[in-house]
């Protein structure tokens, strides 16, 4: 249990640092902004309690907000994503798998499952984030296009990061 907490704390710090140091400086045209820190929410264990899941969602978002000077923006989007997570898990997982210990991962659940799971949650996160950011529905398709491209980029980076950790 203690080990698990340490591992997640390490993952949290690693992902925030990666986001702030590398991905925030990575500007692939104006359309693609990968936000890979959401991987932290994706990888939390199945049996996590609701209040902890939401709390961690808010904490993750607030931390990123602090670095990006966007207080409230990432927190509300990440919170929304954390809220949706149990429903998406329910939707995609068989009854037996839910009883499983551990956390969602590419090795256990398979590549296709993990891609589906990440795509849906990352899309919902980016959708709320980019629309909160532009704070209007003017330029709806412009924003939607940013959401779609960034979702694909984020998911791709998350898959790469996952496959890197599997080897170890």
């Amino acid at each position: 249990m203690g080990k698990g907490i340490l591992r997640y704390a390490g993952l949290f710090i690693l992902l925030i640092l990666l986001q702030v140091v590398v991905f925030n400086n990575l500007q692939l045209s104006g359309y693609i902004n990968p936000y890979i820190y959401v991987m932290f929410i994706l990888l939390l264990p199945y049996e996590i309690s609701g209040w902890l899941l939401l709390g961690l969602g808010l904490l993750t978002g607030l931390t990123v907000d602090t670095f990006m000077n966007t207080i409230g923006m990432h927190s509300s989007a990440t919170l929304f994503m954390a809220f949706l997570r149990p429903y998406v898990l329910n939707l995609f997982t068989d009854r037996e798998d839910i009883d499983q210990k551990g956390s969602p991962s590419m090795q256990v659940n398979g590549l296709v499952w993990f891609i589906k799971y990440s795509l849906v949650l990352v899309f919902m996160h980016h959708l709320s984030l980019f629309f909160i950011e532009s704070f209007a529905f003017t330029g709806f398709f412009h924003t939607l296009w940013r959401v779609i491209l960034s979702t694909l980029a984020t998911t791709a980076f998350i898959l790469i990061l996952q496959s890197l950790t599997i080897k170890k």
Binding site: V21, L58, T66, E133
Partner: protein, 275 residues
């Protein structure tokens, strides 16, 4: 009462979500650039520190580009110096004027965090209140306006970028001296919009746009960009697209401008507005 409790317990997850989401939306709505809370000033110290560390490492990759820009800037400053010193000589000879001190003072600063891909872009500079930076000072380069200081902590300051849909500047056409308001529409980061130039003003593509000097923040005649296209349909005013001289992605060294007579000007204008 009992059923209310049962309802609360049963839906605690959804209710907690709603409460937290309202909290973060409240944070978001209170986040405007003139009323920053104490929390953010602490946050800025922390994030400023990390950003400056990141910047120290990444600055090496830009050295050659920075050198080139600095050399260019030096050259232009030398040219200006030559022109100005001859003028000053002339002045002191003819009038004997001793008040040749400039109204604006400049202070160099480095950008340690920057973005161009959001709707509300901010920059962070490595100078803060310890170096005399105050809110509402202007930030410029030799080829354009960068933004306005929005908040300061002892060692860092945040700047609302020109690429922030909240920012509006007063700018003019250098050829005709007509002024209008300049802002970013949130799309292409190399293009801003100049509006409120009346229909009768003849325009041509390639005309230079510069600061008007009407606000007390920026000096006059800082070049901003050139007209890349304009649209005059259906209104009394032109809508002009201005291509910026400087690529905001390459910004590195900037100048913080302070106007020594800003308070005087603001106070005077205030008294007129109030009476």
């Amino acid at each position: 009462m009992n059923s209310l409790l049962r309802f609360l317990v049963k839906n605690q997850f959804v209710l907690l979500f709603i409460v937290l989401e309202l909290f973060s939306l409240w944070l978001l709505s209170n986040h405007s650039y003139y009323q920053r809370s104490k929390f953010e000033s602490v946050a800025r110290s922390v994030s400023g520190y990390t950003n400056s560390k990141v910047d120290e490492a990444s600055s090496y990759f830009n050295l050659s580009e920075t050198n080139k820009v600095l050399a260019q800037e030096n050259l232009e400053l030398r040219k200006q110096l030559a022109v100005l010193s001859s003028k000053v000589e002339l002045l002191t000879e003819v009038v004997g004027d001793t008040i040749t001190d400039s109204v604006y003072t400049y202070q160099p600063a480095r950008i340690i965090n920057n973005s161009v891909n959001k709707q509300y872009n901010y920059l962070t500079l490595n100078k803060g209140s310890n170096h005399g930076v105050e809110v509402e000072m202007g930030v410029v380069t030799n080829q354009g306006v960068v933004g306005i200081v929005a908040g300061v902590s002892p060692n860092y300051s945040t700047v609302i970028s020109l690429l922030n849909v909240d920012l509006k500047l007063s700018a003019k056409l250098t050829r005709t001296n007509h002024y209008g308001s300049l802002y970013w529409e949130g799309g292409n980061y190399q293009e801003v919009t100049l509006s409120d130039i009346p229909q009768h003003v003849p325009l041509s593509i390639g005309d230079t746009v510069a600061t008007s000097g009407f606000s007390s923040i920026f000096p006059e005649n800082i070049p901003i960009g050139i007209i890349s296209s304009y649209n005059s349909k259906g209104s009394n005013f032109h809508t002009i697209k201005v291509k910026l001289f400087r690529d905001f992605k390459q910004l590195y060294n900037v100048w913080i401008v302070s106007n020594k007579q800003k308070d005087e000007q603001d106070q005077l204008e205030e008294t007129i507005n109030n009476s």
